[in-house]
Symmetry: C2
Subunit: 377 residues, 2 copies
């Protein structure tokens, strides 16, 4: 199982419509792959809010409309913010039946919307138990941050550091939402409060964007990257059903399965992409993925371990915080970055000697969790 | 590949919430299967409008919340009105990796909604080219009916006959939306116009409901039913991109593939479930599925061929028209009926000697089309 082609749009506040974004990414991935669109025998579309925000569903058929006279199986997967990693996971499972499957993640969140995006995003939360009590996502992650910071005695400085590193990385990524935006620790510290203790720079932005990834059952080019494992599991949707807010059980199970399947251990991972929808998530991810013990992520971060010149560069593309978070495309953007690093094509942001990379993509407050491990062929 | 268990709710204007409907169907299918919920190693959720109508997405995680301490892969598929047949198709493809996969289709369309259901359903249409010109679905199918009736010289009487047969069949189905509703040809003929030539009785209703189907990689009981073929393909979303409105190319391709894969021919089919979202669709389905030539479906219908005592009983459960159309569950309701007929468990509505059945499920105006063929083990 190989990744044969990747393509993406810039992320940010863009003028393109949802179908235009999808088309741009599809086109880029075909060019990158050296395949023809006729070689693609199945497509999976990943999108979260096409209905509520854009008034457009049946996106499988919408994608068919973009392509010349194509009559293949196309379908859409939605699992909140983890949609595109689950779509990738399904494409891998389907390689029994197909040769080249395209996975297209797309989201349009900044303009021409049918409702407020924060209200729409909250549809990934439990309506009955969480949302009705005010738990939109910044509030849920604020509760998680409160519990984490209290239990492990860390200050907001650590979260600021996460935000700062992500923004610095995004400065090297021309596709990033916040490319060439100079962000200082002071700006982060003094940004407006969203939900205590999380301020504006703890939160990922609303982004438009699309990413397309082509997976194949055979190695089709010298630039192919191997999929060593893709695993995902599901947990309950409501925070009220969780025993512990400082760890996501679904991430622990998915990563354990992925390490086992790939025979890879955390110390083999050269670059890591984590789902930093809020800065606190990055700390929890490092622990749930077993890069350190519970409560020790702040130490890793503050000692520079996760910086681009550290032992384990994390979110070299800027992460959700600064690369951006067009929800249905986010997991594939992580894949895009890891593939680019393994190929040695990351230009200014290239990390030396990357042979293996991992992505971590989460839906809601850990209701869905996917872990993917990629390696050199 | 076998269907091991089936379960459903009544369809109609129900008091249960979306999670309650899903739970009821899940529970019924587990009881029917003689499996335990612990035997299920993957779940696919099918739903169309959970976001726009109910404000609830990430339904995979919502379903996990309904089940005791479960951490398995669960994901949601959406392909408009064909969502649940595509989910079934994917479950079959995944039997390489799992033993027993549950497919749960659910839709809540009649109460406690965030917007008007007709406006929400229209999200399956092309927003840019069709919907912006007034083509909500009754209007699109009215255009299709106009073109069909003109080309083949049939009157509205034939459509009335389709509606009448479906309502008569539903009278034998205690789960049907219109169970024990006495409908006469006069009522149908005199019902209010919706979009000329389609009147109220040409249109399927808004229904709440859920269906769950368990598929297995081995024969797990004497009541198992074999999946002979499941096939689906995608076409362009907009009517403006179609050369011919009186036939759906995606249905033709999917059924041709399914006949080939199963080595079944139309004359082998004992019961047929077609996607009669509007009565005109039933005529087009009979032709696209190759039960007769183009323009000859009206003859089959008027000669009683598709009635329950005819050679090919169609929509023995009442079809979308009278069994109901809870969109994300509709394709699985068709599977439920065919499995029940093959098992010989359809009570009052049992057709004698059913050994093979077929379902036909369509998204939008043929943007997605799925065909499934089931047979006795």
């Amino acid at each position: 199982m190989y990744i044969t082609g990747i393509g993406r749009t810039k992320f940010g506040n863009l003028s393109e419509s949802l179908p235009e974004l999808a088309y741009e990414a599809i086109y880029a991935s075909i060019i990158d792959s050296n395949l023809s669109i006729k070689d693609i025998d199945c497509i999976i579309v990943s999108n979260f809010l096409g209905g509520p925000l854009n008034g457009q569903l049946q996106l499988n058929s919408m994608v068919a409309s973009l392509l010349p006279d194509i009559h293949i199986p196309i379908f859409r997967i939605e699992t909140a913010c983890a949609s595109s990693s689950i779509a990738l996971n399904q494409s891998i499972a389907l390689l029994h039946n197909f040769n080249n499957i395209m996975v297209v993640g797309v989201e349009k969140m900044t303009s021409d919307l049918m409702m407020g995006p924060t209200e729409a995003i909250a549809m990934a939360a439990d309506k009955e138990f969480d949302l009705s009590n005010g738990l939109i996502f910044p509030a849920s992650y604020a509760l998680i941050a409160q519990q984490y910071m209290r239990r492990y005695g860390i200050s907001h400085d650590v979260l600021e550091r996460v935000s700062y590193i992500n923004h610095k990385n995004a400065n090297l990524n021309p596709f990033a939402h916040f490319y060439h935006k100079d962000v200082t620790i002071e700006m982060i510290k003094n940004s407006p409060m969203v939900a205590s203790p999380l301020n504006l720079f703890d939160c990922s932005p609303l982004s438009d964007g699309a990413v397309s990834v082509i997976v194949s059952n055979q190695k089709r080019s010298d630039r192919a990257v191997k999929i060593l494992s893709s695993n995902f599991v599901t947990d309950s949707i409501s925070l009220t059903q969780r025993k512990d807010l400082t760890s996501f059980k679904a991430v622990k199970i998915a990563s354990k399965n992925a390490y086992k399947e790939s025979a890879v251990s955390p110390r083999d991972v050269d670059v890591l992409e984590v789902h930093d929808c809020f800065t606190i998530s990055e700390l929890i991810a490092l622990e749930d993925l077993n890069f350190c013990k519970s409560g020790q992520a702040s130490q890793l971060i503050c000692e520079g371990y996760t910086s681009r010149n550290g032992e384990l560069p994390v979110n070299t593309d800027g992460g959700l915080k600064a690369n951006g978070h067009p929800i249905g495309a986010t997991g594939l953007a992580q894949i895009y970055e890891v593939v680019t690093q393994i190929r040695g094509e990351a230009d200014e942001r290239q990390i030396d000697g990357v042979e293996m990379g991992m992505t971590h993509n989460v839906g809601g407050v850990g209701g869905t969790a996917a872990v993917t491990i990629l390696g050199m062929v």
